[in-house]
Amino acid sequence: MQSLVYILPELFLFIVATVLLVTGLFLKNIKLINLLAIFSLLVTVILILNQPFQSAFLNSFVVDEFSLVLKVTILIGSIASLIMFVSSKDDLNINIYEFPILIIFSTIGMMVMVSANDLLAMFIGLELQSLSLYVLAALNRNSLLSSEAGIKYFILGALSSGLLLFGISYIYGFSGNTNFNLIAVNINPESLGLIIGIVFVLAGLAFKVSAVPFHMWTPDVYQGAPTPITGFFALAPKIAAMGLLVRFLFNSFGEIYIDWQQIIFFISIASMMLAAFAAIAQTNLKRLMAYSSIGHIGYALIGVACFTDEGLRSLLIYLMIYLIMNIAVFAFLLSLKRNDGYFENISDLSGMHKNHPLRTMLIALIMFSLAGIPPLAGFFGKFYIFVAAIESEMLFLAIIGVVASVISAFYYLRIVKIMYFDEPKEEFDGSSIKSLNLLYYPSSILIIIFFIYPSPVINISEYAIQSII
């Protein structure tokens, strides 16, 4: 019974989601449901902030500094995508009241993921999260692309869940435990079966964070899903999966880090390089953002590969900055539309600075930030990652990292080039949507002024990692 108190935020969200599901049937006001959902997510943030640090259900669910920080970050991402939904639901013609509810369910799943300290809890969280995402991807029933994205995501996701489950069974078989801490205590470093288990679980998790070579779904799903949902994909689930990955590797297999470090090492390099080259050829903005997110995950994985508290700290800093930048990018994407709907092609941005100078300037700055050019926030994310890499003597990773960042600067610059240097096309719909202003102005200002006072983000990250190492 005591344990139920410890999962109060999750429980609260679950009750809210169920209640909203029923009321939604009678109450045909999507806007109101969405507002209620946003409000309940805000309440959840408060609940989380006031929660005592405890472990529940026989230590399979822990509430600590790490989970607190990640949960709040995830909730910010979810709230942002709900705001995006409000502003775009009429244009996209997806008047489906389940949207906010699915987001809430997915959020619960992610909260369980970052708190999971047991293979089973981990799987439950992951599946709850993924199933909601499959439905979300296919939400726009009238669109062929959206349905395709949903199916593709579901099939590949199911496969990866299968791999994950297979790996879990290996780990359980060879260590006799499902609890991360108990696995760590009873670990047998010589056991090959355990390594196989780790490899399979990592393959499953790499799919969830969309790291190379398990990234194939990302561009298609990003492109096919309605933009607010793409935004959600880019924001919250990656952060949650990253948190889970860290806890899984650090808590249970810290002792044999040599074995998994090289796997992370490889997928990190592969993600950075593949994304840098593949994105150059993209013409669709959402596909480009998909590759961009693959690249960013590659950088974040450097932080995991270091296996130091410095690395973990840099990972969290990176994830927070990544969240802010993606909120800004997707809010901007939604704010740009021309009579027949949102545009998808990069060339649609052509010459937009003539008609929308302020917005263009902010988008350009966000692009520079994504490319990691100082003094914008994106630079600091990379800076800390490289600090961590060099400190743990992974100079090679750092060099690949900077080379990839120069290459990827090219495609971010291409967007700036198209916005500024090319001939203008017709004007966009001038009316900027109020609720989106709420997202992109604060986030882009945060990106620009981050360098003046970076300490809060750094302190939060330092606070978060103390429970892991």
Partner: protein
């Protein structure tokens, strides 16, 4: 005076200016004129404030002055500003050139005026920051941050091949600089600080020095630029708008030279000594090869761009002699080049605004139509080739003097560069200014307007003043240079 954070004020006045500019409408000619005036006043105010630096600067103190230090990112990385005799002149050069650039853009920039001026003010912030920062991370921040406005200035308001040029400029410089970033991080991890003052006292092991030196060198080599990594410069210069070229030649190249003096030889004296012959060879090759290339150019801007590479060769020659004369010569050469090449690009801009071509063959015989212009152009051409009595002479002379004491062969080759410089400069002048005025469209040419005279006058005065009486400049530079040289000698022993 020391209580006022004057360097921060200098750095952030343009930023405040940007906020003001964002509030001004930009929809007709009148408002864009207002924008230009506002930007000009902001930049001019900054110049006046920077002059106050000169008056309260203690000439006998070789250490950093006007120091400001606040906790910034974490322990070891702080917001640390300060200037000494080496950097103060660069700060003033920057604040002087920016108003001139804005004034020079009054007629030539026709669209997106607001963005243009904002880019320029942002660039000023970054450039001043580079010369003032006494923390490596802060330095890197400003050093790289300058790429963003420059990318836009070349890309939006540039010539026909602007996209290619600006991408080349951006990616080249970025690729060079990221290795410096890794080196800075390595320094941070192994010493626990990126504070320049502390690091100047720190002794790196020889192996560390070699690697770190190369990492810093890749960045500065591309930026200064040294042969064979200079190819981005002619492209960037040719396509950039006049003011962009001015600031590129006048200040951006100097950031790398300043970096060589402050960091490369300050932190890594052993490595610098080890690599000095290598630098000398590259510099001498640069001086001769780029001078020869300059001879055959048909585009005025390209010619001046190649001559910049040659002049920067003298700078690196001087710096790596590790003598007081050499480093002083390098600094004066940079200051002089900052004034003279900026002025030459402005000269090109004047005729470009009238005829819209930079092709040398299209001109000829301008002296009969544009006497004042011909006169100022002559002063700068003579300064550029290092005629005694102009600023160009002082720097080149000191550098050649110091290199002679080190190695005669390098000195001989470098001196041939001076002859070549005279050849291409005078030939350029002859082709544009002298001869008969036979081309029809040239008959429409008119002489300098009042605005253009205001632009050229301070530059002419400075060029001649530094050439005839370099003492005040040397007085400012000398104590700090001596300190740097002594430190190197101490570390090498």
């Amino acid at each position: 005076m020391s209580e006022i954070p004057i360097l921060s004020i200098l750095i952030f006045i343009p930023v405040v200016g940007i906020f003001f500019m964002l509030l001004i409408r930009n929809n007709d000619d009148q408002s864009s004129q207002n924008l230009k005036h506002t930007a000009l006043w902001i930049a001019f105010l900054n110049f006046i404030i920077s002059l106050s630096l000169l008056f309260s600067f203690d000439l006998n103190d070789p250490d950093f002055q006007f120091v400001e230090k606040y906790a910034w990112i974490e322990s070891g990385i702080s917001y640390h500003l300060g200037i000494d005799g080496v950097s103060i002149l660069f700060v003033i050069l920057t604040t002087m050139l920016v108003p001139i650039c804005i004034l020079a853009s009054y007629e030539s920039i026709k669209f997106s005026v607001k963005e243009y001026l904002i880019s320029f003010l942002a660039l000023e912030t970054f450039m001043i920051g580079v010369f003032c920062s006494l923390d490596l991370v802060l330095f890197y921040l400003f050093f790289e941050g300058g790429l963003i406005p420059m990318f836009l200035i070349i890309g939006i308001w540039g010539g026909e091949r602007r996209v290619y040029s600006t991408f080349k400029f951006f990616l080249y410089t970025l690729a060079g600089s990221v290795f410096m970033l890794l080196a800075i991080i390595y320094i941070f991890i192994s010493t626990g600080t990126t504070d320049v003052e502390t690091l100047l006292m720190y002794n790196f092991t020889t192996n560390e020095q070699l690697i770190l030196w190369i990492a810093f060198f890749t960045s500065f080599m591309v930026k200064i630029p040294m042969w064979p990594f200079h190819t981005w410069l002619p492209d960037a210069h040719v396509e950039a708008p006049t003011a962009g070229s001015v600031i590129l030649a006048g200040v951006l190249l100097k950031m790398a030279g300043y970096g060589f003096i402050r960091f490369s030889i300050g932190f890594f004296p052993d490595a610098s000594e080890f690599f000095a012959p290598f630098i000398f060879s590259l510099s001498v090759i640069a001086i001769i090869v780029t001078s020869l290339i300059a001879l055959v150019q048909e585009d005025m801007k390209k010619l001046i761009a190649y001559s910049s590479v040659a002049h920067m060769g003298f700078v690196t020659l001087g710096i790596f002699t590790f003598t007081v004369q050499g480093i002083e010569g390098g600094i004066i050469q940079m200051i002089s080049h900052g004034i003279v090449s900026a002025a030459l690009f402005l000269c090109v801009g004047v005729v470009y605004d009238r005829l819209h071509t930079r092709e040398i063959a299209r001109y000829g015989g301008l002296v009969s139509k544009m006497p004042f212009y011909s006169f100022s152009f002559m002063i700068f051409i003579l300064a550029s080739l290092g005629l005694p009595g102009t600023s160009g002479f002082v720097g080149e002379f000191l550098v050649l003097l110091s290199i002679f004491s080190i190695n005669t062969y390098f000195a001989i080759f470098a001196t041939t560069g001076v002859v070549l410089a005279a050849t291409y400069s005078l030939w350029l002048y002859r082709r544009i200014i002298f001869g008969a005025l036979i081309k029809d469209d040239l008959s429409e040419m008119f002489d300098l307007t009042r605005r253009e005279i205001i632009i050229f006058l301070p530059l002419i005065i400075l060029t001649i003043f530094i050439g005839l009486y370099p003492k005040p400049i040397i007085n400012i530079i000398e104590p700090s240079t001596e300190k740097i040289v002594n430190q190197i000698k101490m570390k090498l022993d």
